[in-house]
């Protein structure tokens, strides 16, 4: 298992090395700002069959980007330069998860600000999206704004890992 995890993370390290070469960046840390060309990964629940349907023009359900009560800083993403999709899929308490990938610049174009928020206790490369933070009692305007963001995100999300439904 360790060798498999090493293999996954090696791909991310290689990607990071190439990114540094191209961008002339000698070192790169999880705190560094997210580049517009970076891919961000998002875990999508695999406990209901309708969260991902490849037969639809927009295969990912917008609920995949809904915040939970723990997302007080915003919903979580992970930088692919720091962690492999397979590792993200197998993380959390009820793996495997579907994993979708979104280009950082695409998220910014929708009016959101992906922010590097490293979490030493979790997977490397943690990113928060403050525009989709949990609001205990949202106003009508806040609810509509968040729904609009979610519906925009699914249009640019590409599935990279789709495990068999649990």
């Amino acid at each position: 298992m360790g060798a498999v995890v090493y293999g996954r993370d090696f791909r991310s390290r290689l990607g990071r090395f190439i990114h540094r070469l191209i961008a002339f960046v000698p070192h790169m840390s999880e705190d560094d700002p997210i580049g517009p060309d970076e891919w961000l990964l998002r875990r999508v629940p695999n406990r209901q069959p309708d969260y991902f349907n490849p037969a639809l023009a927009v295969p990912v359900a917008s609920a995949a980007f809904a915040p939970t009560k723990y997302d007080t800083d915003g919903i979580s993403f992970f930088r692919e330069l720091f962690v492999a999709p397979e590792t993200v899929s197998m993380s959390g308490t009820k793996p495997p998860y579907i994993v979708v990938r979104l280009r950082s610049s695409g998220i910014v174009a929708l009016g959101m600000t992906p922010t590097a928020t490293p979490d030493k206790a979790g997977l490397p490369g943690h990113v928060s999206l403050p525009e989709l933070a949990y609001i205990p009692k949202p106003t009508e305007g806040e609810r509509k704004r968040q729904t609009g963001f979610r519906l925009g995100l699914v249009e640019i999300a590409v599935a990279v890992i789709v495990p068999t439904a649990v």
Partner: protein, 146 residues
Amino acid sequence: MTEITWRLGSSSTNAALTMPELEPWELHFVQLRSFYRLEDDWDGLGGSAPLAGVVDTAFALLTAFQKHPDVEAPSRVIASPSGSVIFEWQTPDGHRLEAEISEPGLVEYCLKQLGTDPVFWEEPLPDRRKKPSWGRSSTAVTSEAA
């Protein structure tokens, strides 16, 4: 004013694989019933289970839609991590209509075309005798069998 023809009724491929015997409407009712059994953290990511009243409203809405001859089965039925239930209808070119129930008795609709801003409106549960009032939005919506 743009007119969209909805080609609805395609149920989830994944779901169809797991329950091939069921018609789309039946399948969605089965899914809705399963939402009563969801517990908090059902997704392992902290997702909230929907309140029973929310699922009750979803049942009433799905029943009303099923009885209406112009409405086809949703493309998906979802319990969201925030505790709401969402019905989604989708056209082959990616236009989507979502009906979200976050609190008992109230349905929030959102119409989203690819690359455009969404249009929102709210309604109480539909009167079964009337046609759905989707046409109230700035975009007229009609239904057509897939």
